[in-house]
């Protein structure tokens, strides 16, 4: 029943501890928020799950499969078929020198799609799902605006319909009105597909809008977890109380 289970996850960079003893579960179709200030280790947790960096200790299982010990080929497969990622910085998730359709095509090609016309059609369909006009499918990703790039990342992440999406500060570098549109889109995609998500953000508003449950991280540790509403209305930990009291 558990989709993702993280147990005792610890990651150090040199002498600096990025996250320590982080444990949580994500259930199918659920949106889990991870909130904390920059440097709290929340992005590191996401990077460990997406296998961008290897955990020093602990276990991460996705549908029962241990991720921390997979080889490079399996890792690539998992990242195409079992999870998708939306980075804060689109340049990390996209090849900006390639067309929008091509960025999506990369995932489909990894899934052995070998019909250019069908790949392009599927790319167009995925782009329309993230509300990008069909006539932009062949434009270079570098020609896309910030908000459009996040949409493209979402389309790419969803290309093979993985059961888990990881969103790392998906709207933090966007203008306010664009942020709102992207958050609506994420909500809509969740309603339509039921894909489970882990959303990392420093913004309580984003977490309130998207997440059913929330973890609060501070200095590499999970200091609190609960139903999002409870974390925001009745925070238990001193840091969370400060965070909630400080939010606009």
């Amino acid at each position: 029943m558990t989709l993702l289970a993280v147990r005792g996850l610890t990651k150090r960079y040199g002498g600096r501890v990025a996250c320590t003893d982080v444990s949580f579960e994500v259930y199918p179709g659920e949106v889990l928020g991870i909130v904390g200030e920059s440097g709290s280790g929340k992005s590191t947790v996401l990077q460990c799950i997406y296998l961008e960096t290897m955990a020093d200790n602990g276990s991460i299982t996705l549908d029962g499969e241990e991720l921390t010990t997979v080889d490079a080929m399996r890792r690539r497969w998992l990242r195409s078929f079992r999870m998708g990622m939306v980075h804060q910085d689109a340049a990390r998730g996209l090849d900006l020198g390639v067309s929008a359709g091509g960025n999506i095509a990369e995932r489909l090609l990894a899934a052995d799609w070998r019909h250019a016309g069908r790949i392009r059609a599927r790319g167009t369909e995925l782009l329309s799902r993230v509300e990008v006009a069909a006539d932009r499918v062949d434009d270079l990703a570098s020609a896309y605006s910030g908000g459009m790039r996040q949409r493209l990342q979402l389309a790419k992440a969803m290309a093979n319909e993985p059961p888990l999406l990881l969103l790392d500060e998906p709207t933090s570098s966007l203008d306010v009105h664009v942020q709102a549109a992207i958050l609506d889109l994420v909500k809509e995609l969740h309603a339509q597909t039921g894909v489970a998500m882990v959303v990392v953000s420093h913004d309580l508003g984003v977490i309130r809008l998207l997440a059913q449950r929330t973890l609060v991280m501070y200095r590499g540790r999970v200091v609190e977890s609960g139903i999002t509403e409870q974390v925001l209305e009745d925070p238990q930990d001193a840091y969370t109380q400060l965070l909630v009291a400080s939010s606009l």
């Binding site: 690539r76 091509g102 095509a105 090609l109 990894a110 250019a116 790949i119 392009r120 062949d138």
Partner: protein
């Protein structure tokens, strides 16, 4: 006789086939490894040759490591036995071995070639050595050697596929005309060298042993007889060979690889094949 010649003397001169025995043995070991791993690029210690790098030093080292007194050697450059490069390489082989040479692909036991595979059938059991300017098929999409090695190891060729997809998006077709990437035995991506697609199509399940030598890049790779060599393509954009505008203006062949020569029309690129059809030698 020059001063240098006097010093060297005939008796103390070069080894048979220029390279010393240790070097030849090492090259043959490397070649055997390449044959055992079809399409895989095996590193070898490329020697200084009396040829400029980029003029076939990889091919000639393979040829010299394999040639024996009983061999009959053919050397061609873009299908032509008479081009300067071919003539020079042939001269080096004969001068250091004394073996017989030929223009006839059906007679040669060892063929060194640049950018073409003969249109005439190759003699059974013969070895074809191709000169390789760039052995790495992924160079087109990835500048780093460390990364391309990892990509091969993980059979991660999605970037190459993406390149072809983008080509179709941009030009409506796959525009690659030479160095067309091929999957070998379904496992390794290989650069077949700048042979035309006409020749790429011949590599699949071919009865001949093909060796590929890159002197500058110090790599050797191989296609043993009857290897699967499948060009990357899409269902709706299948791999296609070049189409000549007309049969050969000289011999009338409509199956050979032909190129258009200004003022002369379409001509066979394989001159020995064309001559043979006309009974000229």
């Amino acid at each position: 006789m020059s001063r240098l010649g006097e010093l060297a003397g005939d008796a103390t001169g070069y080894s048979f086939a220029f390279l010393d025995e240790h070097t030849k043995r090492e090259l043959r070991r490397r070649t055997l490894k390449a044959v055992a791993l079809p399409g895989y690029q095996v590193a070898f210690g490329s020697r200084e040759m009396p040829l400029a790098r980029g003029w076939g030093t990889g091919g000639i080292q393979l040829t010299l490591s394999l040639v024996g007194p009983a061999d009959v050697v053919k050397v061609i450059d873009q299908g032509d036995d008479a081009s300067m490069n071919a003539v020079n390489i042939r001269a080096l082989v004969t001068k250091t071995t004394g073996v017989r040479t030929t223009r006839d692909a059906g007679e040669a036991t060892l063929i060194q070639t640049r950018h073409r595979i003969p249109d005439s059938p190759v003699r059974p059991g013969a070895i074809v050595v191709l000169q390789v300017p760039f052995p790495e098929p992924l160079r087109l999409v990835e500048p780093s050697d460390a990364v391309t090695r990892r990509m091969h190891a993980e059979r991660d060729y999605s970037k190459m596929w993406l390149y072809l997809y983008e080509d179709i998006v941009r030009y409506g077709r796959i525009s690659l005309s030479y160095r067309y990437p091929c999957m070998v035995n379904g496992t390794v991506l290989m650069d077949p060298t700048p042979i035309p697609r006409h020749d790429v199509a011949k590599l699949h399940q071919n009865p001949t042993l093909y060796l590929f030598g890159a002197g500058r890049e110090q790599r050797v790779y191989a296609l043993p007889p009857y290897t699967d060599v499948v060009p990357l393509d899409f269902e709706d954009h299948p791999f296609q060979t070049e189409r000549a505008g007309a049969p050969c203006a000289r011999c009338g062949s409509d199956t050979s690889y032909r190129t258009e020569v200004p003022g002369q029309g379409w001509l066979c690129s394989d001159t020995a094949y064309c001559d043979a059809r006309l009974g000229v030698s």
